[in-house]
């Protein structure tokens, strides 16, 4: 190249345009770094996390509902907004309508979180990949990417997803009691149960730091709902571990899956039918 100085306007513009383009390109490729890191350490078999709810122990006290809301920063609506729309309950109670045919869970109310299906309908239809089936079996979300099209809500056969119809507001605008481990979601974003993925990662992180294996005992009452249940009706665990309490419960003759005939492969098992 000759040593001619940059004098022409066109050349300056070219340089400017190219630099901006390069910067923009670098920004977009940043997205690749935000991809979820694989959860299992190298050499370990992948996990398949799931849950079991024993309906013969569950008193329907709804402690799981509020524990989940407290852990995952789902503030209540308050009186005014409650008149407009129902609250968000990642762990909800399925209250069967008296006129309809009953589900596999029978007539009475039952706790119902996200099923974390192995073949999730919601993941199939998300236009931007804001929800995905992680390699640990948890159907997780990237809230920042959600555009609020609500297709996943329509596609979920269990209708277990919730939309932020308005901006969540904390009582007195004071989010002091918010859990720092869980992001706050703005209006216009769909959210649902994450199996307390932040707690799962914490346990796996600690196991890695302490260089010890993850025990099933550490997992059984790990999510907020399982931890709080006064009747120990909710069990969490790794279905990929045949010795885990969850795997044994999943094989129990009392175990049923909701809408199993649809082939979505839900990983939440309900146990009922004692007597």
């Amino acid at each position: 190249m000759s040593g001619r100085k940059l004098t022409t306007r066109r050349e300056v513009l070219t340089l400017a345009a190219a630099s901006t383009a390069g910067a923009a390109l670098a920004q977009t490729t940043r997205a690749v770094e935000n991809a979820p890191a694989p959860v299992a350490a190298a050499g370990e078999p992948p996990h398949r996390f799931g849950m079991a709810i024993d309906l013969d122990h569950c008193l329907r006290c709804q402690a799981c509902v509020v524990a989940c809301a407290a852990e995952n920063n789902v503030p209540p609506l308050g009186q005014e907004r409650s008149a407009l729309t129902r609250p968000i309950h990642w762990m909800d109670m399925l209250i069967p309508d008296e006129g309809s045919a009953s589900s596999e869970l029978g007539q009475g109310p039952a706790p119902i979180p996200c099923m974390h299906c192995d073949r999730p309908e919601c993941v199939k239809v998300c236009p931007v990949g804001a929800t995905y089936l992680g390699d640990d079996g948890v159907v997780a979300q990237i809230w920042d990417r959600c555009i609020g099209c609500r297709y996943c809500m329509a596609a979920c056969p269990y209708s277990r997803r919730y939309f932020n119809w308005s901006e969540p507001a904390w009582p007195g605008d004071d989010p002091s009691s918010a859990n720092p481990d869980v992001a706050l979601r703005p209006a216009g974003v769909v959210e649902k149960c994450t199996l307390c993925q932040h707690r799962i990662r914490a346990v796996l992180e600690r196991a890695r730091i302490d260089d010890e294996p993850v025990t099933d005992a550490a997992l059984q009452r790990l999510p907020a709902c399982a931890a709080t249940c006064p009747a120990r009706a909710i069990t969490f665990g790794d279905l990929a571990d045949p010795e885990s309490a969850l795997s044994k419960l999943a094989k129990d003759p009392r175990a049923v899956q909701l809408l199993g005939r649809l082939g979505t492969g839900p990983k939440v098992f309900y146990l009922r039918g004692r007597r």
């Binding site: 309508d97 609020g148 056969p157 909701l258």
Partner: protein, 489 residues
């Protein structure tokens, strides 16, 4: 011919502006307060998550695709009547596509984030990918290109006179001289573009039909029936709209600009055919639903006949039936005139709107797979205002078409067309352009589909959906390249 600037027209324009203003205000309320101001609510908790916006999106997209498809089909024949169909159809289609795009954008929880996220991360595995990418690239942009190319002769004529639009008209006319070679190229490009556009238009419509009709627990035969009904009814609705638009153009811009009676008759017959295909499918779908083992499906089918949705269902069915009967009678007597066909067209459009509403909303309130209590949905004034505002905007944007893409053609003569031999360079460039577009679209598609990386991670190149859309845009401008490439000396 210039349409007369009468008092009625001015009043109408003022009304449209007012409606647009109210719509903007309503949309601002929605942005500020969130979608809670609409009538939509979470499924299973008493509501429907998709409401008026998605219904209108389906309605407009269906109409637009059908109208544009009519225009493309009309391109294949050289008849003056069918030429009028194409001429009238294209601006209407563009307005419809614009309306569809705006409706669906208004529906997103975060519209600006939607533009960003879709551009960077959209994935073709979702049916929405096809709809959002095609509506912008193929439907809207493609129709515009198609339309401009078709009316270059009129634009060149207009560009001769001084006016505020003169520069734009000259730009779009792109040096039209009216030579025989240009006519030849116009016919060839028009033919091939129309041929390619047809499947390209059907793709988003089918995808939207899938979005409307595929439900968990709904058996495949029923889904296929619903998809077929959706597409057929969209076609019928489009024809109905076209009939109405043709009648209106004829009224406002003179009989020469509008459709001849023969054109109305032809369209009327096509409408009758479509209706006779859709009516049995609707009946079959409802019966299949009622007889289904799946409780969610039969509940939905029963709800359609029940207290809440029964009146709508029967009203829609009646409209379709009456329209079909009117058309049949007219066809038998050989008296398919403008009045009859336009009335039938209006009935059909009402029926199509109601059908889309039922198909979308009824299963959300009454057809869920788990035994949730039935919900209810009614649009609030915000949703109605926004939709009306979008409609007003589309109508307002049709106005410049008076000057830019005039309904009334100035040049009616169809000159002899003669191709130029040995124009190898043009062919080669066109081929390269086409293949390049195909390659870009293909690459964009593959990368968006997470080829080369795990399905649950990001695409290798974030922004590949944009590449796909650009590729599609390149494809639809192939005709323009062919027509506009400078002639070699």
């Amino acid at each position: 011919m210039k349409p007369r600037l009468s008092v009625a027209l001015v009043a109408f324009l003022a009304l449209l502006l007012v409606v647009l203003g109210v719509g903007l205000f309503a949309f601002a309320q929605q942005i500020v307060h969130g979608d809670v101001v609409t009538g939509m609510r979470t499924l299973g908790a008493g509501g429907a998550v998709w409401g008026l916006y998605v219904v209108m999106d389906g309605f407009f997209l269906g109409l637009g695709v059908a109208v544009m498809a009519c225009a493309c089909v009309a391109r294949f024949s050289r008849d003056r009547d069918t030429e009028a169909v194409a001429r009238i159809a294209m601006p209407v289609a563009i307005a419809c596509f614009l309306g569809a795009g705006l409706c669906v954008l208004a529906d997103q929880g975060r519209p600006l984030a939607a533009l960003r996220s879709l551009s960077l991360f959209a994935r073709p595995q979702s049916p929405m990918f096809v709809t959002f990418s095609s509506v912008g690239a193929v439907c809207l942009f493609g129709s515009l290109v198609h339309c401009v190319l078709a009316r270059r002769s009129d634009l060149a004529e207009y560009a001769k006179r001084r006016s505020v639009w003169q520069r734009l008209q000259r730009l779009l006319a792109a040096g039209y001289r009216g030579s025989r070679a240009e006519h030849y190229r116009r016919q060839k490009a028009g033919f091939w573009m129309s041929l390619l556009m047809l499947p390209a238009l059907l793709a988003p419509l089918t995808a939207l039909a899938i979005i409307f009709a595929v439900r968990p627990a709904r058996p495949l035969p029923l889904t296929l029936l619903e998809v077929a009904v959706f597409i057929l009814l969209s076609g019928a609705g489009g024809m109905g709209l076209l009939l109405g638009a043709a009648a209106l153009v004829g009224r406002l811009a003179g009989r020469q600009a509008g459709l001849a009676a023969r054109g109305f008759a032809r369209l009327g017959k096509a409408l009758l055919l479509t209706l006779s295909l859709s009516l049995p499918c609707i009946v079959a779908a409802e019966i299949a639903g009622l007889m289904s083992d799946e409780p969610a499906v039969s509940a939905y089918a029963r709800a359609l006949l029940g207290d809440v949705y029964g009146p709508f269902f029967w009203a829609a069915f009646a409209c379709l039936f009456v329209a079909a009967m009117l058309l049949l009678r007219g066809a038998r007597r050989g008296a398919l005139g403008p009045r009859l066909t336009v009335v039938a067209g209006v009935l059909v459009q009402v029926a199509v709107l109601v059908h889309h509403y039922l198909l979308l909303v009824a299963w959300q309130t009454h057809g869920l797979a788990l035994p949730y209590p039935p919900g209810s949905y009614a649009p609030t004034w915000i949703e109605c205002a926004v939709v009306l505002g979008i409609l007003a905007l589309c109508l307002l944007l049709l106005l410049p078409s008076v000057r830019l893409i005039p309904f009334a053609p100035l040049v009616f003569e169809v000159q002899l067309a003669e191709g130029k031999r040995g124009d190898i360079r043009r062919t080669v460039v066109t081929a390269i352009w086409f293949l390049g577009g195909l390659a870009m679209a293909g690459l964009g598609f593959a990368l968006s589909a997470r080829v080369g990386t795990e399905s649950f991670l990001d695409p290798i190149f974030a922004g590949s959906p944009v590449l796909f859309i650009v590729g599609l845009m390149v494809l639809v401008t192939t005709g323009a390249v062919y027509e506009l490439w400078p002639e070699s000396k």
